[in-house]
């Protein structure tokens, strides 16, 4: 079972457990070890050192996981790395979430946070090194005690043996902790792996999550806590002018209502969640809408269309040839032209946003949260509450999904919780709860995108000219990560998957930003969530114009001698082969293929659909091939492919957030209908064997799902769907 551990909690627990050895990394990135018990010479658990692995006196090994668990499998994955190098018995390893601390940075970001499918990729060496260092120290201590060479000692299932001597780790914790960890501990050769790559290693969170025992931030209750919901402006940018508590006072359990200090809403405090929700309904607020966004979706669409028609602001491909390539594409004897549109999407994780802020003795704060970005949340709460950062602990819980939503560069819901905490006087713990209505109306959507492409096919049956213009609201501009992603005005996330396509295409790409006061955010697979669709539907259209088979046409635009493109071709061929590409299908069925590289991972998918007698579409099967380098946990990889495919299909089928005079029209799930079990196809995942370094799997399964479906529907019906969602554009699902 996974426990949450904050830094002080950990240190305190040491006394109770006796001597504990910890191995981890210090601020300079070097391996360090320490023995943490009162009066011990090595109790140097200073601010600069936090554990990645701890071994208690009874031999219990706990892996401290620096990436939160939103379902993507980090508690299983990172634990696998340590257990492999330490030769632990899988069922006996414990897992704890790391506290918020700079030693737990994501090596891909330089700050503590999870996202971008980076957890395994950035942890692979680090956690193996920590495990290998701990094992090496224990072995050396045992060798010394037993008077044998370290090489004469074997470790299996957490037990050290040499000749007739055997002992658990606990026996040598004291001695091992006095040793200096090897600077570069010897890692296992891949041929010796028993856990990494094991087809089915039980998930660490399965038992807790099937018995109701897993604790989410939504489940936290601390002493002296009030519940708070917030009445927000129905329009983005509305500012609170005044409010009347009126009938809320008669709601049993109502405590108080206060304007948030930033006038973004009214905090409604009560002694239970329900009382707060109920009282909020009675509160009447007046909003100053003078700076609010009052547009509707039709107006936004017109603005997108106008921008699509205008000269692009940015020449992304930087060859100064946009007009020329576009003219060549249009003028080709065989050509394809299409406009694409992608709506706003909400993430709608099952657990709505929630956060508890609890004052502690001594003027500190404890933040209870399914915290995805401690690097932002921690300083943000410190800045708002004026509590020094070192007196703030973030306690991380299981998160009920995220899909990007909890990784918010503004830490939006934490800011609300902190403001609500202050507005009530800063003495009582507050639990901020969002309802589903708050979630769907709360912004931070996947931006709208519009694309226009003109493609000319040459005499050789290959693409001779590809001109594309994109209109997108930038996710990164104005945010804390702008400098990493925005170059020469181009937000890479607006064009990723197009500008860096692995296909060999003579492409000219233009981009125009769309500006809006509505907050937008990354949504599972970020820009790829729409660029995968555009590129792969276009490749299908181009293949048809060229009179080629879609698989053969794609392969003709890949240079397989290049490693990267070879891997793209590899998954394409694997998916095609496993799906029986090219074999006959009965009337009323269709097959479509799509592939996309994102976050360093290559995925191809084949969708198979059938039509009923009324022409409604059923998605029968998705065959998926994935190359994510070394497959650390194959079953977690399969699960992530299944999940990302389902998440992607549901969105392209029927999801959109629309506005009417600035107000979101989707109130709750009935108006933002999630994918249901009856929609879910059979999914067959194949993992490409590989010894390359592992890349992420949380997002890359998504981009090919939508276009594979669209291409299959085209094969079955002859309808090209370039505007989403499909149900708003002439497609019925059975």
């Amino acid at each position: 079972m996974t426990t949450s551990m904050n830094r002080r909690g950990f240190l305190k627990s040491v006394g109770a457990l006796g001597v504990t050895m910890v191995v981890g990394f210090n601020a300079s990135g070097a391996l360090a070890a320490s023995k943490t018990a009162a009066g011990d010479v090595l109790s140097n658990t200073s601010a600069d050192f936090n554990p990645f692995v701890k071994i208690d006196a009874d031999g219990t090994v706990t892996v401290v996981v620096k990436h939160f668990e939103m379902g993507q499998g980090t508690t299983t994955g990172l634990t696998t790395l340590v257990a492999e190098e330490m030769d632990l018995a899988w069922d006996e390893v414990k897992v704890a979430f790391a506290p918020s601390h700079k030693n737990y940075i994501n090596l891909a970001f330089g700050g503590q946070g999870t996202g971008g499918s980076t957890a395994m990729a950035n942890s692979f060496m680090q956690y193996r090194q920590a495990g290998a260092a701990a094992r090496d120290m224990l072995v050396r201590a045992a060798a010394e005690a037993w008077g044998v060479e370290a090489s004469a000692i074997t470790v299996k299932d957490g037990v050290l043996s040499s000749g007739d001597k055997t002992a658990g780790f606990g026996e040598f914790v004291n001695a091992a902790a006095k040793l200096t960890p090897a600077k570069e501990p010897v890692l296992k050769d891949a041929s010796k792996f028993t856990l990494i790559g094991k087809d089915k290693l039980p998930r660490k969170d399965s038992a807790a999550k099937t018995t109701g025992k897993a604790v989410f931030a939504m489940d936290v209750k601390v002493p002296n806590m009030v519940y708070v919901t917030i009445l927000r402006s129905p329009k983005f940018g509305g500012v609170l002018k005044s409010f009347e508590v009126s009938d809320a006072k008669s709601v049993t359990g109502f405590v108080d209502a206060k304007a948030l200090p930033n006038m973004a809403g009214v905090a409604v405090y009560a002694t239970s969640t329900w009382a707060s929700i109920k009282a909020r309904r009675s509160i009447k607020a007046v909003w100053d809408d003078s700076k609010a966004d009052s547009r509707g979706t039709p107006e936004m669409l017109k603005e997108y269309a106008a921008k699509l028609d205008a000269e692009p602001t940015y020449d992304v491909t930087k060859k100064g040839d946009f007009a020329k390539v576009e003219a060549a594409a249009k003028g080709a004897s065989k050509s394809v032209s299409a406009d694409f549109f992608f709506p706003l999407l909400a993430h709608a994780p099952m657990e709505p946003m929630v956060c508890v802020i609890e004052p502690t003795e001594g003027g500190g704060l404890k933040v209870h949260d399914g915290c995805q970005f401690p690097m932002i949340t921690h300083p943000t709460i410190a800045a708002i509450t004026k509590v020094p950062a070192e007196k703030i602990d973030i306690v991380t819980y299981y998160a009920g999904g995220s899909f990007g939503r909890r990784a918010n560069p503004q830490s939006d819901y934490h800011v609300e919780a902190a403001l609500a905490f202050l507005a009530l006087g800063g003495k009582k713990a507050v639990k901020l709860v969002w309802t589903r209505e708050d979630d769907l109306a709360g912004g931070f959507y996947r931006p709208m995108f519009a694309q226009r492409a003109h493609i000319g096919i040459g005499e050789d049956g290959k693409v001779a000219a590809w001109a594309q213009r994109s209109v997108a609201q930038s996710i990164f501009k104005g945010g804390p990560m702008e400098s990493f992603v925005v170059k020469d005005g181009v937000d890479h996330s607006s064009v990723e998957g197009i500008s860096d396509t692995p296909y060999q295409l003579p492409m000219s790409l233009g981009l125009t930003d769309y500006e809006s006061p509505m907050p937008v955010l990354w949504w599972r697979s970020v820009g790829h969530s729409q660029s995968g669709y555009t590129m792969e539907v276009l490749m299908d259209m181009a293949a048809e114009a060229a009179g080629k088979d879609p698989v053969a046409f794609r392969l003709a635009h890949l240079d397989e001698s290049d490693e990267d493109q070879g891997r793209v071709a590899g998954v394409l061929k694997l998916a095609a082969e496993k799906a029986g590409w090219g074999t006959d299908l009965p009337e009323g069925k269709g097959r479509g293929i799509a592939l996309h590289k994102s976050f360093g991972t290559y995925v191809a998918e084949v969708a198979e659909v059938s039509l009923n007698d009324k022409g409604a579409v059923s998605i029968d099967k998705i065959t998926c091939a994935v190359d994510c380098g070394t497959a650390v946990n194959p079953d977690v990889i399969r699960a992530q492919m299944e999940g990302a495919i389902g998440y992607g299909l549901g969105a392209v089928m029927r999801n959109q957030i629309t506005m009417k005079e600035g107000v979101v029209e989707q109130g709750n799930f009935p108006q933002y209908e999630p994918l249901r079990i009856a929609d879910m196809p059979v999914i067959d995942v194949h993992i490409m064997p590989s010894d390359k370094k592992p890349s992420g799997v949380g997002e890359p399964g998504l981009p090919p799902a939508g276009p594979a479906l669209a291409n299959a529907i085209y094969a079955a019906t002859g309808k090209r769907i370039t505007k989403l969602p499909m149900t708003s554009n002439g497609i019925k699902f059975a």
Binding site: T210, T211, G212, F216, R436, G646, N668, F669, R676
Partner: protein, 153 residues
């Protein structure tokens, strides 16, 4: 008002307005947090509990309407069907984020209690009100079949 509730084999006294949804009494008052809040409009099934052994959405059920009915939450799911479902869920590692899974499991137990060997279509029809944003549906289907096998054995 003071309300008597038969829950998980015990009789509990709670203070709540009669219109309070059973979900919030279970979670905030009785501190049985395995039952989840997902939508509040009976549209996602995360709040599924059993009322006299039948799955019900607790988020729209006023506590005053429960009367003598026996409420069972995930914490007290101990029937052979419950054990088979949980074992199958663990064997196939169905869960991802896990937030909806108490509700999925309570629904699946309800299904298997009525129908020991459901087909894919019967599973889809019965489970369609339980949303999972992680889309673990493919494994949910497989796990219900597996639980059915376990029960048969």
């Amino acid at each position: 008002m003071s309300i008597q509730l038969k829950i998980n084999g015990e009789t509990r006294q709670v203070e709540a307005d009669g219109d309070t949804p059973l979900l919030w009494v279970i979670r905030d008052e009785l501190e049985l947090t395995g039952t989840k809040f997902g939508c509040g409009v009976a549209s996602c099934g995360a709040c599924t509990v059993h009322l006299n052994g039948k799955p019900q959405r607790s988020c729209i059920l006023p506590v005053s309407a429960i009367g003598e009915s026996e409420v069972t939450t995930i914490e007290s799911a101990t029937t052979p069907q419950a054990k088979a479902v949980q074992a199958a869920w663990q064997e196939l590692d169905v869960v991802q984020c896990g937030y909806c899974q108490s509700g999925q499991i309570m629904s699946a137990i309800g299904l298997l209690s009525d129908n020991a060997k459901p087909t894919d279509n019967e599973i889809d029809a019965f489970m369609n009100g339980n949303a999972c944003r992680c889309a673990t549906y493919h494994r949910i289907r497989a796990a219900i079949h597996r639980a059915s096998e376990i029960l048969e054995a």
